[in-house]
């Protein structure tokens, strides 16, 4: 596979924590390759390390060891050197969009203002040309002037998706995006993520407890005790 089609490649990625004298491997020697435009899910029981792995892949944290390459660009080179928060932020805002179980919308800002919030700090060249189109695509254009407290949970997650996409990321990282939603809204969110991956070539990494929803991804990885295996 040529580098141009590889979105993300991890080699022997490991994250160790220390609790007193005890060493805990949240992620141990994980190697995987994800192509551009793939919709990938990570499942596993609580404490299996799926969220920690996605945080490492999403440059929210430094690994203890191992390598990570994003779009051919080496991020963690395996020499154990920890990247500063500033460097991680620079990588994140160039490459990633994030959505979380708790939405994390700013309650004092309207839907539109929440979606535009990333531009307050950074605007990728050419990004955000059709924000209204994005809101329409996600079915929340009629809510643009509402405050988050006045819309439903499903709509709040769509706003979070719009916010994550406004800076045209290459990879969307979704950590339990349906954790606070009912079955119907969950299915809607998964469908949106599928469409984005299929129609725009966005790479989607999703962590989920729900095997049924995770099964709708192009590829499904299962985490157990810090190790990873791909479901065929």
């Amino acid at each position: 596979m040529s580098n141009s089609t590889v979105s993300l490649e991890a080699t022997n990625l490991t994250k160790l924590y220390h609790r007193g004298s005890e060493e805990i491997a949240a992620v141990r020697d994980v190697s995987l390759r994800i192509n551009k435009g793939e919709f990938v899910s990570f499942t596993g029981p609580s404490g299996s390390g799926k969220t920690t792995l996605v945080h490492l892949l999403g440059c929210l944290d430094n690994p203890t060891s191992g390598e990570l390459t994003l779009g051919g660009r080496p991020i963690f080179s395996g020499n154990g050197r920890q990247l500063s928060e500033r460097t991680l932020t620079e990588i994140r805002r160039d490459i990633f969009g994030y959505i979380f179980q708790n939405f994390y919308l700013i309650p004092t800002l309207t839907v539109m203002e929440n979606v535009l919030l990333p531009f307050t700090f950074y605007r990728k060249p050419g990004a955000g040309k059709d924000v209204m189109g994005l809101l329409k695509l996600l079915g929340i254009d009629h809510r643009k002037d509402h405050l988050p407290g006045k819309i439903s949970g499903g709509e709040m997650q769509r706003v979070a998706i719009a916010r994550s996409l406004v800076n045209s990321p290459e990879i969307l990282l979704a950590d339990e995006p349906t954790g606070n939603l009912d079955t119907k809204r969950s299915a809607e969110i998964i469908r949106i993520l599928q469409n984005l991956s299929r129609d725009t070539g966005l790479t989607v990494l999703m962590v989920s407890h729900n095997l049924e929803l995770a099964g709708q991804a192009d590829r499904q990885f299962e985490m157990r005790d810090g190790g990873i295996s791909e479901r065929r």
């Binding site: 969220t51 945080h55 929210l60 944290d61 928060e85 500033r86 932020t89 994140r92 805002r93 994030y98 979380f100 179980q101 708790n102 994390y104 700013i106 309650p107 004092t108 800002l109 203002e113 535009l116 919030l117 990333p118 531009f119 307050t120 700090f121 950074y122 916010r163 994550s164 800076n167 950590d175």
Partner: protein, 397 residues
């Protein structure tokens, strides 16, 4: 596009009561600061004006406490001891003296003054010398006395208003049962003359049995003459003391300075309390938005962006509080003046609190700098929040 200013402003509206209470704290300290500095300027200006309007640089009076005597003169009260009138000739003959004006001040209790009576003060003057000394005096009605021993009176503007008197009316000196005919009413001068009842010197001496006696001699020295040299000369006269107006001014200012140090200390404490309030408010706000700030960093905010955001909030609070405080001090400057007049033993006439654009800009600048300093620690704390910790804290909720 939403600016950091808008994000900061909207966040302050989130906890309205907390923001308003913090604003009140800042506004009150700004009010104290403006009023105090305004008083500092206003008092000095008013005192200078009062002393310049005395028309003379030196007062010759009988020995006693010079400051008490000077203060009483400024307040329009009576001197405690008397000088023989003959001294005025000696003083007048001094070559460096341009002119003199002899005065006798007497006061009696007037049961009809105010609700429960009050002191009525009478100043015996020679119209020629007194008028020449105070060239700014203008008559609203009438003129000076017809003769040097006439039973007539000239009323200052406020005295005429208080007594509701017009030309031709008769006024009674209580205790003495003597009536004086009002022959003139002076225009407002903004000095202690406004509250004075002027009587011919000879007449007042006769009424109060003080023939040949004076309380004070006002002395105007020639231009470019060192008044301290004349002061030393006059001290050679028996039982005489000399009070220079510069000395009076200096003494009053040093007394007022002591009070100012105390009030300034209170103002500084008020500012420190307001600062602590601001730090507390912003720290609480940062703590409450721990996850939001973490998410902002996830979506691209650098530590410097978060620092700016929190700093803008602090600046907004302080600048708004400062503006409110200044508005309050302008609106309540008359009340502040009344309070000061009640507290200070001697307060000059006219505006005591002088608030100008320079002072307003200085206070706004000072409050803003204080705000920026107060915001440093919370902003630094906010800038240090790591996104991963924020996300984890949200998952654990």
């Amino acid at each position: 596009m939403i600016t950091k200013f808008q994000v900061a402003y909207k966040n302050l509206l989130r906890k309205k009561i907390r923001s308003v209470l913090t604003l009140i704290g800042i506004a009150l300290s700004a009010w104290v600061l403006v009023s105090l500095l305004g008083f500092n300027r206003g008092f000095e200006t008013a005192l200078n004006r009062d002393i310049d309007n005395m028309g003379f640089q030196l007062m010759v009076m009988a020995k006693g406490c010079p400051y008490e005597a000077a203060t009483m003169m400024l307040k329009g009260g009576t001197g405690l001891k008397y000088l023989p009138e003959s001294i005025s000739d000696t003083v007048r003959k001094e070559p460096d003296v341009e002119r003199i004006t002899p005065m006798l001040m007497q006061a009696v209790f007037d049961p009809n003054k105010g609700e429960s009576g009050g002191i009525a003060a009478y100043l015996g003057v020679e119209p020629q010398s007194y008028g020449a000394m105070k060239s700014f005096l203008r008559f609203m009605q009438g003129e000076w006395f017809t003769q040097g021993d006439a039973y007539e009176a000239v009323l200052g503007y406020e005295a005429a208003e208080l007594e509701q008197r017009e030309i031709g009316d008769m006024i009674l000196i209580p205790e003495k049962n003597v009536e004086l005919k009002v022959v003139g009413i002076l225009s407002r001068t903004g000095t202690q003359d406004d509250g004075t009842i002027f009587v011919p010197l000879r007449t007042l001496q006769k009424i109060f049995g003080k023939n040949g006696k004076l309380t004070t001699i006002g002395v105007k020295v020639r231009k470019d003459v060192d008044s301290s040299r004349i002061e030393t000369k006059f001290y050679e006269l028996p039982d005489v003391q000399v009070v220079s107006m510069a000395q009076v001014k200096q003494t009053i200012m040093s007394l007022v300075s002591t009070a100012k140090v105390l009030v300034l200390s209170i103002a500084i404490i008020a500012i420190i309390i307001a600062m602590v309030g601001v730090i507390n408010t912003i720290l609480m706000s940062v703590h409450e938005r721990f996850q939001e700030i973490g998410i902002m960093k996830t979506i691209g905010a650098m530590p410097g962006d978060i620092f700016q955001l929190v700093w803008i909030e602090t600046l907004l609070l302080c600048a708004t509080g400062g503006v409110l405080g200044i508005a309050l001090s302008l609106a309540l400057s008359r009340v502040t003046e009344l309070v000061i007049r009640n507290v200070l033993p001697y307060s000059p006439k006219g505006g005591l609190v002088l608030i100008d654009m320079h002072l307003i800009l200085f206070t706004l600048g000072a409050i803003s700098v204080i705000g920026l300093l107060s915001g440093l620690y919370p902003a630094w704390q906010a800038g240090r929040i790591r996104p991963l910790e924020a996300i984890r804290s949200g998952v654990n909720e």
